[in-house]
Amino acid sequence: MTDPVPDYTGRDGRLELSAPATPEILELVHAMMAHLWTTHEVTAQQRVRFETSVIEILGNIVEHALVGSAPGDGRRFDIVLDVGRDDVVARLGDNGIPVEMDLSKATMPDELAEDGRGLALAKAALDSLSYRRIDGRNLWDLVVLRGGS
């Protein structure tokens, strides 16, 4: 996780959303990804791996935004999405509490577990997932490569 923070501002086709961190916003982020697929040819496998991972990471942000904060207290997030020639990328940022876990240790729980699968699923589905805390913000970078499937 000592790679430089990728800079997405040169990607002209990117979509950027900033919005309240609420459960309802998940549907709008699905609509953004659906928009990406109408303008780029990405395989079904790559789409499902990307969509699932984005929703897992955003779901965690929303969940932790709600913990210990009254509804409507202004917890927000932002997301950048882009399909490049070689990759599909997402960056999620929020000003919530720092994430107290080691991503490299996120593994699939017991098959009968009812939770704890989110990060392991995103790791398994993505070609790269990284978490950083920068300037009081959580930053998640997600990549699916378009090369194979």
Binding site: P23, E24, L26, E27, H30, A44, Q45, R47, V48, R49, E51, T52, I55, E56, G59, V62, E63, M108, E111, L112, A113, E114, D115, R117, G118, A120, L121, A124, A125
Partner: protein, 111 residues
């Protein structure tokens, strides 16, 4: 938004059909529907995923929760008509073994 079709067949098997996306919002409702069925005596349940376009880890959690509740009551939970997209989420989480997808709702309890 996700809607849930719920019906109990003549042979006593309950069929639940979530429509749309099974995410953190709708998974909570699915959990309630499954527990409600078992509480009312229907412990053999088919979740028909034929109209489900997306499942995340909370959706998987709701299915596993339903499976455990049904088994505790002497029944079982089976999933049917799983799309290729949803199947790949089962596979990425290794849940295709415990939530072994059946091709049809009618035949889901045949074995």
């Amino acid at each position: 938004m996700t809607e849930f079709g719920v019906e109990t067949r003549a042979d006593g098997v309950g069929v639940v059909t979530p429509e749309g996306r099974l995410n953190m919002v709708s998974a909570r409702r699915l959990r309630e529907v499954l527990v409600g069925l078992v509480e009312r005596g229907t412990s053999r349940i088919v979740v028909d995923l034929g109209e489900t376009t997306f499942v995340d880890s909370s959706g998987l959690g709701a299915l596993i929760g339903g499976l455990k509740t049904a088994r505790q009551a002497g029944g079982d939970l089976r999933v049917a008509r799983v799309s290729p997209a949803v199947l790949s989420v089962f596979e990425l989480t290794n849940l295709d073994r415990i939530l072994r997808p059946r091709p049809s709702v009618d035949g889901a309890f045949d074995d």
